[in-house]
């Protein structure tokens, strides 16, 4: 039997790494990928909690399913926007999309 802490630890590390990626990367697509890591961490959390703590109602499982679906949709939408920005600026680096400021 694997204790729940193991899963939660994995998820916590994954989330932290994802956040690091968001902060450290400069390509819009890589930032998007880092966000996906964070969302995957969320799914692990929900499923682990559902399986260990809430086996009767298991809302966490349903939550995780929706998170997966919405995250996928978000990738699609965000890539659409990245493409538009790329067409206008010939770059998908977020530093090149910084004309709006101050």
């Amino acid at each position: 039997m694997i204790p729940i802490e193991n899963f939660l630890l994995l998820s916590a590390l994954l989330f932290a790494i994802g956040f690091y990626g968001v902060l450290a990367r400069r390509s819009a697509i890589l930032i998007l990928m880092s966000v996906e890591l964070m969302l995957a961490a969320v799914s692990i959390n929900f499923i682990a909690f559902a399986a260990y703590m809430d086996p009767e109602a298991f809302t966490g499982l349903i939550f995780a399913l929706f998170v997966i679906a919405i995250a996928a949709a978000e990738v699609g939408l965000a890539l659409g926007i990245v493409l538009r920005v790329f067409r206008e600026r010939r770059s998908s680096m977020v530093d090149d999309a910084s004309s709006l400021k101050w």
């Binding site: 902060l23 977020v94 910084s98």
Partner: protein, 637 residues
Amino acid sequence: MTMEQVWLLPAIPAGVFVILSLFNRVLPRRGDFVAVLGMGTVVVLAVLAIADFQGAFHDGHFAPAPGANTYEFTWVNIGDGVLRIMFSTYFDAITAVMVFVVSFVALMVFLFSIGYMHGEERYGWYFAVLSLFAGAMLLLVTTNSLIFLYLAWEGVGLTSYLLIGFYWERQSAAEAAKKAFITTRVGDVGFLIGIILLWRVAGTFDIQELIHLAEEGAFSETYLTVSMIFLFMGAVGKSAQFPLHVWLPDAMEGPTPVSALIHAATMVVAGVYLVARTLPIFDLVPIAQNFVLYTGLFTAVMAATQGLVANDIKRVLAYSTVSQLGFMFVALGLGSVTAAMFHLLTHAFFKSLLFLGSGSVIHATHQQEVEHLGGLWRKLPITTVTFSIGSLALAGIVPFAGFWSKDEILLEAFELNPFAYAVLAGTAALTALYTTRVVLLTFAGRPRDQHAYDHAHESGPIMLLPLVLLATLALGSGFVAFDGVGRALGFVGGIGQVVTSHGEPHSFAFHPNIAVPATVLALLAIGAGFEYWGGNAIRAERARQWAPELHALLVNRYYMDNLYQAFIDRVVLGLAGIVARFEKSVVNESGVDGGAQTLNWMGFRLKFLQTGRIPNYALGMALGVLVLSIFALGGGE
């Protein structure tokens, strides 16, 4: 029209505002007659209300039948009494004085404006805003609810802003308008805080109820002191007291009739009115009351010294207004509603007279620097006479109105606070000095700007009528101090019998030991003024006509001129310069403008956090959530 129906007074000009702002372009003469008719009606109604007020005295005390001098209805009732705001009016002696002053001076200014503003592009809009101002001001003085008082308070501020910036083509006017609005708003913040503080404990905005509760000890003394000082902040801003006085001289960018109405006679005394109205509460908290006293005292002196060095005729008058308002606050700080309201009354007449007179000069010459005026008495005889009457009233010379009211204040000070007395007496002398200077430089001597002088001509009757009427009042209104005069007007007695302090009527008595030194001092100051600014032409003229043996004396006087000059240069002007520099660097730049600059600077630094780069934004979020969770963990254990 009874005291109960006094709510009609603000309603009429407000209605005029609506009509004029919508239809001024289609009405004949841009609708100025509507404004004048409206204001005339208000004056009549105000007089009727005051007549009703006169009938409510029994045994020499104001004792109206219950409810006869109030009117109220529930405006908002939230949570069944948790927050109940009533619209209510209240009429007593203070209201009577204010209503008369506001409506009468407003009518005079409206009349004057017909001539003065003739041909202006936004003539109709001008009268619309002026009417709105009158409505807000009348609401301010008649309402009994602090909330509506605050509404009206902001309303007069807004109209003042619009009118100061009336000549918005001039950058300086636009800046002055903004400065006035922001500076007074600083005071208003304190005012609002004060209102909320009082309300938190008392649960009501009704001023009379608040006074009642405070006298019964519903508040702790410290709490009340703090609340009243906050409340007083509103008065400091609106009445241009130190350190928020800086806006008033700049406010002279507005049309001159506006200065007469708003920045001399009515709006700026709103602070005096507020403190007078709540004086029973101030009486309970000596610290707050002393705060009022010393603020007023300091402002009176400081502004008077500044008046000595200003060159713009209107600015001199503005400084003098600030100084006179200081006098009124001193009276209130000493606990005398009578003296404060009396001075408010006479000051309204003679100061609006002075402003309208200066308006007449400016209208004639298009010049408002005294350096460029001079000798105008030949061209503008009526203006000169009326202006001089106003000046004598301001200088406090018997028997002009200012003498009697200033005497009341000096008397109070003499009895209660000798230090204040000494300072005020000195300030009164300074007042006489700078008044003399303005009059002489403007009207006497040789014209210094020949072109302006050649084109000058006396104003038309529509402008002279207000001048004459106001001059009459500047001459005569002081006599209401006497019981006999008061009775002749239908009151129970002199102003001391009607406008009572602490509910105790008193009769006017002449105190030679106060009046004589004050008068002598004022006369000396005027003499000094004549010596210094009399103008060579007049002096030479006089010297030829009198006797040749006096010529030597005149020469000697010339040395004395140097002496005066040295004294004034080194001491008075030096002091004034120090004050001016203090004001410029400390108050104006660090205090008011400086405050704004610091904020602007902070805004400037902060805006660079907004780098436009997504990872930087995300870092902000990350740090935010980290701080929240780390502190949550720290606090949770």
